[in-house]
Subunit: 250 residues, 6 copies
């Protein structure tokens, strides 16, 4: 099974550098089932990191361009490498392999572990986007809280210990609002791998969206399901659309 983890932006050109792609690919393969091979891809277009609805949208044309190519390359599933699931519906329209949204996947895992979960994310600016995302996925009934640690994505790795302490403090706030499980609301948080430590500290499940989306990809690919064409129809102008986009991006 071949899974593409697609970063919808030029991650390697940012402060984390090309090593970050290698680190992410290693992390993913280390947690994959035997027989699964994950490749990390990025796109030259798109934002350096996603910390607003603006950046979510700017990351989508790269995903749309890449998705059919990844299918043609023989991947069995694609993970959209951003917690906000930007462009998820569009990507699903374009291919016959499963496309995984990490926010959606992590939410569905958390909803099986407890009654109501809290999303703990990076910066306050994405909190309302996460509420809109969960509403759109029909998952808002499972949400007790959405909170942020107020650390930008690109500083998460270097400020990991501080992030962990703030996550713990925010998690306690969410407990008081009825949360009994947690979802980390950022893929970089997932790769920094604080979920496990936080889970140990607070004694409640903390879902890592990186791993939730990896397992969801392996699950759907193994089951042979692709997205429902009733919910994600093939665009009438599929070819044209891609052409227009090439023009746009050209």
């Amino acid at each position: 099974m071949k899974i593409a983890y697609f970063v919808p932006g030029p991650l390697s050109r940012g402060p984390l550098g090309p090593d970050e792609l290698v680190r992410r690919e290693a992390f993913l393969n280390q947690h994959a089932f035997e027989g699964t091979d994950v490749e990390v891809r990025e796109t030259a277009s798109g934002p350096a990191s996603v910390e607003s609805a603006v950046e979510e949208y700017l990351s989508v044309p790269g995903l749309i361009e890449a998705t059919p190519r990844l299918e043609a390359e023989g991947f069995d599933a694609i993970i959209v490498g951003c917690f906000g699931d930007p462009g998820l519906a569009a990507a699903r329209e374009l291919v016959d392999i499963p496309v995984i949204g990490p926010g959606q996947a992590a939410g569905h895992v958390a909803a099986q572990l407890g009654l109501r979960f809290a999303v703990l994310t990076v910066v306050d600016e994405v909190v309302p986007s996460i509420w809109r995302q969960m509403r759109q996925h029909g998952l808002d009934g499972f949400i007790a809280d959405v909170r942020a640690v107020d650390v930008p994505v690109l500083e998460l790795r270097e400020r990991a210990e501080e992030v962990l302490e703030t996550l713990e403090a925010e998690a306690l706030q969410s407990l008081a609002r009825g949360a009994d499980a947690f979802v980390l609301g950022c893929m970089t948080m997932g790769f920094v791998d604080v979920a496990r430590t936080l889970e140990a500290r607070i004694g409640l499940p903390v879902v890592n969206p990186v791993l939730a989306s990896l397992k969801s990809a392996e699950t759907l690919a193994a089951l042979g399901h692709s997205s429902s064409r009733g919910a994600y129809p093939t665009p009438r102008k599929k070819a044209a659309a891609t052409r227009v986009h090439s023009a746009t991006a050209g």
Copy 2:
């Protein structure tokens, strides 16, 4: 009051030609309150028409690029010229003037006219996108049905009579599912101006999303409200984001 109606694609280069922009501007100004001046703008990037989630997303970078410019030009409100409200949250993050989503505006008008409305749109492919859109806006509790006439956007004008007949037939189906009001789910349908005729034929309100968004823009601009920064925060990297986008689009 100056309102920008922004078409997120190269409408004038499509089959409807440059005259369509003129027609739309005339239609909008004809229905505007005294003292309101509407200008129609388009973008060279973006799809020719929006009939899928793919095309919705491809229309957003043009909107993101244009929004701050339109604010700088002195517009008092911006209407996103697509029923699906593509990029609405992103545009709202970027400016201090109201940005109107026609689907959202029309839904809120319809919800004041009846108990449950049906959206009647162009092609089956956008039906699930409209359900997702209404879920995201928290409006799905007001929806009785979403149906399509199966006529592509760019053929609506020339097939207007057929469209009207199909709309009436579909509306009757929606009545049986509990609808007591209707929303046309496509801006081109709105400009073809079938809402009034359909309303007369079926004897129930039919909301034209073009006019609903115009009135919503006039309302919010007159009231001096801009979007809540609690729901649409200014992106931390606002300047950077725009810069990245320029790079992307360049």
Copy 3:
């Protein structure tokens, strides 16, 4: 366009005196679009102010009596001059022009500005009525909180500064419960015109129900919509009903 703002009680005979009607009419016309003429009417029956469900209901017979008369006089829309929308459904059944409920109109404006709004009203006694009202309108999913400043309606004008301070304190409480926009839950509050000041102080939208209902009236009248007969059917005994009422009130 001629709009009737109907006060469902003998406002001019109360402590605010006949000048209050003049002040309200001036305020409305000052905020109306060019070409709109608003007239304020009151009724001799009905309560002096509305601060309970009891008073809401007692204000309705006067509205029912007046509504067909206002339509006959040539008004294009009627605003029910009470935030609680008392008798809204009844008034809509009786006429073919739009009847605006300020609570409903303000709620739909706020729902376009943020994700969840709080209603800030006068006295604690109306808080549960506002919850019931928003449930009935299908708007409760948008509500984060309903709070009161504990100042009676008829003292709002003279205690305006105190009201403003309390509003700000209550708004902060609502922020902590997830509100990102606000609606003032009383028409007299709207006429005292504290919304703008409060909005400036807290930096988030504060919807004035007086202006929201005015703009909603102008919108629906301009669009030519009347209430759906599917949701507000003409009473079988329309004439009789009016007659019975005359008997009742006589």
Copy 4:
């Protein structure tokens, strides 16, 4: 235990005549628990029957006037004699004894018998009012359907057999929409006593709102509960309100 069944209109002066009051009182006492005494009262004001939102509202001043008097007379509970529960919240604000809304009471009984019930009522005009009523009570999640037999209230008794046949036909329609229990949506239907026959014919529970409200009154009076003052606060101007009303009705 003394229970007042209050008809909010001049029933005895209508086509059913003064005997109808006697018949209703007999029916209620025949179904009451031992030790319960039910008295039927009516008001001279108010509509002859309730078949619209207009008439619902016109029936409320009489109820508001009567409620404190009935409490003073020593009744242990009051039943509002109309399925639409007109003025329920107002009446609850005014007294310390339970006030029963038949629509609410019947809905809560039906919700314990099945998963989703249908309301079968008299005329199409009240169907949307029933939807609004159930939304306000928070019961809409239990509703599968609301349908009407298209027979006016005052003709129900004489056309009883026809009503029964139509009820059965409508019930079958509701079954197809997921109903597994039924509520008759009109008190006169309840007194005509078709619920039991319909239940026998279709083999599923059919709740008679007359009996549901009687049992709810007996239950709440026996338990010694009155309405929550958190939901139905005593009006600040309770005395004044009554005074204003006297003026109104005088």
Copy 5:
């Protein structure tokens, strides 16, 4: 009317002893309507008390075994003697008389007294079970809070004063979360009879689930309703099922 109150465990063999059955039967009959006779039954199988989902499920086989027997004995209704309503759906499938779930019955009473109620129960371990129970009954929209006093069931009687004080403190916490009515979430709490005292102290309704289920049983038996076969169908293998169970329990 004969009502069976069925304790799904060997209560008489526990620390409260056989007298507790006598006390409970007396309490129930003391609060029953004239003409109602309540008998308390228990089962030798099942847990000593129910303070977890595990114990809820272990209490069900005894209920399933007893239910048809109680119907055969001529009872008109059966009350499941545990707030969590364990096995309610199963018992309803097996008989043609009403089977009452105290949690469901108490929730429907509370929903008629206020807008949102809080459940105050024994130990923290059952709080999530109560949330699941209320979700299953479709009552979660009426719930403001679920809290526990942290006193085990079998110590409630001896620690009654402490329980009352803690209940009052917890109730105040729930008030701040929007509760305006209360339900005691444990039958032993109901028999200790603290509801009335707590109601007097906090001035808001406190529903005793013992009495709510008694009145619900009397109501449904008097109305002649049994559970909807659409929601609780007779098992295809009804006889076999009972046989299998005998094997299981034998």
Copy 6:
């Protein structure tokens, strides 16, 4: 990774015989990821098949007894071998390894493939149980329909072709009610392996609950999550509970 698939009844003693256990174990291992070993277990207590709420409940004591033993044997996850998830909450309370409910797991898979799914199950008698189950899991918002093929569990294998045809016919009915994905609502249906064929025939995803629960077990075990103790607390009387049960079952 070692996964226990626990059949909560004496399947091998029924008409399908001991071979069925072997067939099921083979089917599960054939679809497992490399490195996963699935063992099928059954219990001597419990019903032969589950086609009612009664049988669901009767299957739980065996599960409660087995669960801690399976954990002690070193299994990494347990699948409850019945679509109705009987006893799921109880089993989760008792162990620190994940316990998978097939109905819940399949629902969460389907919710990622489309907007609204239909459950297609065996007999009409379990349809309302599935609605209650989905309500309890918070998944009812994703459900468009629940329908049955009217073939008993134990005849599914021999009547496989007929089942397939009926499934297809029922699926078309559900499409008309808005379903865009399907879940087979019975584990025996899953083992008969009709999902794939049905999916091919109707062109929309058909989730096999056997495989969905297998993948969910592998996912949660791989991620190292156990159920939230906030939602599934360890019973205070864990040891006692087990003891009582032994007495019960003994």
